[in-house]
Amino acid sequence: MDGKKPQGRAAGRIKVLVCIKQVRDPEAPLVLREDGSVDLESGASRFMNRFDEFAIEEALGMKDAGLAECVHAVTVGPERSGQAIRRAMEMGADSGTRIDFPGDFSSGPWPVSGLLAGFARKGSYDLILTGVISEDDMQGAVGQMTAEILGIPCAASVVLAELDPGKGTLYVEREIESGRRECLELALPALIAVQSGINRPRYPSLSNVLRAGKEKINTADPEEFGIIPAREILVGMNRPGSTRDPVFLDGRTREKAARLWDILHERSLI
């Protein structure tokens, strides 16, 4: 921000970018191969990271309120992740871009943050939103790193955001331990990583579904933005161990219910 005072903007002229990700269904089975690698491509449904739905909704809410001019969605990922962009457009985003990059979970947060920052810089957005964490990698780093590469302020785990275009500021409340909230004012341009519960994400309306179906998803070449190499090397994977001594009940539903009563009864828990 170079110590400059925040610049006011006319209400309704704020440009918003939402960074989203397509994730693999966390409930789908995970197959660890003999060689220690894992098969993440086959046999699982995929959807938009649920934390990102809150980010889209927050941006669309600002547009509905006449504060934001446009809402763009961007993702870094292979062709299939275009579906997440499609979904964002069905919810109401004005346009969507997929930066064509494997975005492999082993690549760490640097390459993805670098590409998102490069894209954001070209579009000179006033506000960038991301989900607080992705359900698959669970790194919770890409939003904050994107902001830092751009040199703009950021807040994570945001549960309340109020835009003041005239002042060029964003008031945020971010959730910390035990549900307490830290309150801050950030000068625009800024980035926020939003937490679930900040709003109720809408379902796509029929008119938006029809509109999104006609529009094309832009594809961007990562070389356009320069790829920052990963700074973390994945050296191995395994299944985590147990912290207790789990006993799996077997038999039919009724037998399991009876067995559970016995176990709890033996321990005087029931």
């Binding site: 790194q139 035990s178 191995g236």
Partner: protein, 327 residues
Amino acid sequence: MKTGGIIAVVAEHEDGKINRHTLEVTAFALMAGASSGMRTVVIIPGNGMTEAGRLISEESGADVVLLESPHLENYTSEGYKAALHEFLMEYVSGIVMVPHTQRGSEYAPGLAVRLGAACITGVNGMKSGNGMVFTRQAFNGKLEMQFRPAADFAVITVMPGAAKPEFCSSGPGSVAAVSSDIELKATRYLGVKKSGAEDSGIENADVIVSAGRGIGGVENIGLITGLAGLFDRSAVGCSRIVCDRGWMEYGRQIGITGKTVSPKLYIACGISGAVQHLAGMSGSGFIVAVNRDPEAPIFKHSDVCVVEDLNGFLPEFIEEIRKRRAG
């Protein structure tokens, strides 16, 4: 002139006191230091933290640096990143260990960018030998991954419980104060608000029956309250998603951003076992999990695992309890 490598622990504190999580990270860092030969320093960003600095230097034996500025009195991501960057730039390399909390996980990735560092979040263990390797979990705890930093600096956030806060120090470490002349340019700190959630009394319950997204909808919450009603001193709790969807009130949310509970019996129904949820209930006496996914991570942290659909199992179990009590 830059000096050599450093393992830097960034302390987290509230009301002038350093939290237990920081002590765990300090113990973790001292272990890493012992195997790598690097010096460990605990950095306390703040203002007037001298007493807390003395205490941790005595308890852990680590050297302490008080990184002081009026702008560090309250935590802000901008202030922490600027001050820590300024301080760490004096070194040629280092591993910066930050407690993985709501604050730590906010500023650590940005600090990594400033330092051009590797960034590994949610670290729960380490292996040393041929360089340091850090482990973290992904896919909701179904997979553990090992990463090696590939840069001069690494910024890692360390989960609670990665090390016990036990030390065998041979005397207190040094305490030095360094003043930082940072300014906050784009952030205005406006204070901390208490949680708005009403008190549900779940912290005092002996038995908690807890609902996750797997319950499917508000119309099925009756199964949870019905089961809880069959136990004495019981309460119902839930995961965050259940509150976000308005199926239960926020006062019943269990986990890092909700309540921490340790009842004698915890029955997790349709809860996957995300780390943020586990943090609030893993201290329970006896844990029963009901989930239709045999790979659900909650099973790794339970005593009894029931792989079943809730809609089939819960009515059956409620019926079983009634039958046994009647006869």
